[in-house]
């Protein structure tokens, strides 16, 4: 539904987005992930016609964003929840959007209801809103025109854990009904929870993309093992022919968890922790963007 083709954006000598290509499909939530300043926002601005690309092309449903006659009816956009006039009430912000898109005013109440902004809250001026409330208002605004595509920049910013869960449910059900969602974040855990597909970007370049599971597979870093008697467990595994590498309280073994469980059972040893030593998305992310990070993590391979 969203197709980004070799998009590059330069500001003078600075390359903000460097030959970026990816596709977001209907029915999927695509997470756009990268450290601050990696080019996520710039890509989304190009996507919504706010910033011209230096080269490359983005189409939404086969069209350039500018060619959509009433873009709000097709694409819901939230680029910055704080970008609202502080002197306007939340309800008025939605009413203006509904009026512009040619929607009935009843849509405003539906949306307020959907994002759980109360009647009283909706009549307060946006200046007095918390960031979480602004995010809810922004999501309500993006959903006003019942669009087929959602483009959300850092929508989970400022939401509390319950709010993040709410948003996950909202976006998942939206995608289940056939919607296309692209959401960006610099926080891995958020995206890991919400997204089905991932696009990882660092310093303007895509460093990895794909299905979340596929990204984590094939990283062959074995299994992390901790036992009540770690040295006996390690010795047992060594005798069976596995190589153990000390890591944290336990050690890492190039073997599937089931094989390790079998060895433990044979020797009557008690395991206290057993899990894939892929380090999760976080280590993958740090590894892939190691060069782009401001902080140096040294060897980015995190021992779970």
């Amino acid at each position: 539904m969203i197709r980004v083709q070799s998009v590059t954006k330069r500001y003078g000598d600075f390359v903000a987005v460097d030959d970026v290509s990816f596709v977001c499909r209907p029915g999927r939530v695509t997470g756009f992930l990268g450290p601050n300043g990696a080019g996520k926002t710039t890509t989304m601005r190009v996507m919504t016609g706010l910033t011209p690309a230096t080269s490359g092309r983005i189409t939404i449903g086969g069209h350039s964003y500018r060619d959509l006659p009433n873009p709000g009816r097709h694409v819901g956009v939230l680029l910055d929840a704080s970008a609202q006039h502080g002197g306007r009430t939340g309800r008025e912000v939605l009413a203006l959007g509904a009026h512009l898109m040619g929607l009935p005013t009843s849509r405003v109440d539906e949306m307020l209801d959907l994002v759980s902004l109360s009647e009283t809250e909706s009549r307060r001026r946006v200046r007095h809103y918390s960031l979480g409330m602004r995010q809810r208002l922004g999501i309500a605004h993006a959903l006003l025109g019942d669009p087929a595509v959602l483009i959300l920049d850092e929508p989970a910013n400022g939401l509390d854990p319950a709010g993040i869960r709410w948003m996950r449910d909202l976006l998942t059900s939206y995608a289940d009904r056939g919607g296309t969602v692209l959401l960006s974040s610099h926080l891995l855990n958020e995206v890991e929870l919400i997204a089905d597909e991932m696009v990882l970007i660092g310093r303007g370049r895509i460093v990895a993309q794909g299905d979340k599971r596929a990204l984590l597979q094939g990283r062959g870093t074995g299994t992390f093992v901790t036992a009540v008697d770690p040295s006996a467990m390690a010795a047992a595994l060594e005798r069976t022919g596995y190589v153990t590498v000390p890591a944290g309280d336990g050690f890492r073994v190039e073997a599937a968890p089931v094989d390790i469980g079998r060895v433990a059972a044979e020797h009557g040893l008690v395991l206290s922790d057993l899990r894939p030593a892929d380090g999760g998305l976080e280590s993958l992310f740090l590894e892939l963007t190691a060069e782009e990070q401001r902080e140096s993590f040294g060897n980015a391979e995190v021992a779970a």
């Binding site: 197709r3 601005r45 449903g61 087929a148």
Partner: protein, 269 residues
């Protein structure tokens, strides 16, 4: 990941669904008054308008000064030119300073179309205020005739009338142009008040009245002094029209054109 060759789902475009220009204008008119600052500016202007009419009436009646319709019309324009140009400025600058442009220009990606809607809004505002000014002026004039010794004079010079309106439009366009060029509310408001009020009162006025070459030079510099003869219904020669053209070019046309070029390029941060 899906190969790029995969055909993504298409959006069927429905051009009947397009946002008509009139709706953009009506949204802009609503945005002008639905913020706290917009509301108070309009309310305060209304209060000023009534105050100006009352003062004009009081002063002329008490001092036995003759109140001509043209003078009255010019007095009635003062309250509008004090505060309302700020609305012309903020209609543009708030998109940047309040960053609402991220929403506005996402819903209307053709920026010049969005700006044109604002321009129409500003012209409608100038037009409506002029009409209102004349209406209040007419009431004042009737009261003057009823309360004073001299009967009210209703002979309005059509040319003076249209030039009062044109001047009003030009000042609103000047404010709009400053907003476009500077894209900052405080800077554009300050510049407008300096150019449209401070300089004419503090510098041009004294020069015009006290210095021998003042009357020859000042109308070439200031839009107000250039249009005064026309709006006052005086006989005007080619020089006056040339002065109006020059000052309009410098203070209205150039900021507008430069501002439109800037907005076309400007990033919304």
């Amino acid at each position: 990941m899906t190969a790029l060759a995969d055909e993504p789902v298409q959006i069927e475009l429905d051009h009947d669904d397009a946002v008509p220009f009139s709706r953009l204008v009506s949204v802009e008119l609503r945005k002008m008054r639905d913020t706290r600052s917009g509301f108070w500016l309009l309310l305060l202007t209304g209060v000023l308008l009534v105050a100006a009419a009352a003062i004009a009436l009081l002063v002329t009646l008490l001092n036995d000064i003759e109140l001509t319709p043209v003078t009255l019309a010019q007095i009635m324009m003062v309250p509008f030119s004090l505060l309302l140009p700020v609305l012309a400025i903020t209609s543009v600058t708030s998109e940047w300073s309040q960053r609402t442009g991220l929403v506005t220009f996402a819903l209307e990606p053709h920026r010049m179309r969005a700006i044109a809607a604002k321009l129409v809004m500003v012209l409608l505002l100038a037009l409506a205020t002029t009409v209102l000014g004349f209406a209040v002026g007419a009431v004042t004039n009737a009261l003057y005739g009823a309360l004073g010794d001299t009967p009210a004079d209703w002979s309005l010079d059509a040319s003076a009338l249209s030039w009062t309106l044109i001047t009003q439009l030009l000042y609103f366009l000047m404010a709009f142009g400053f907003g476009l060029v500077l894209l900052s509310t405080p800077a554009a408001v300050a510049m407008f008040y300096v150019v449209a009020m401070l300089l004419p009162f503090m510098v041009y006025g004294p020069l015009f009245g006290l210095v021998s070459w003042g009357p020859d030079v000042v109308p070439w510099l200031d839009l107000g002094f250039a249009t005064t003869p026309l709006a006052g219904g005086e006989a005007a020669d080619v020089t006056v029209y040339a002065q109006v053209a020059v000052t309009s070019l410098v203070w209205v046309a150039l900021p507008l054109v430069g501002g439109l070029m800037r907005v076309r390029q400007a990033e919304l941060k």
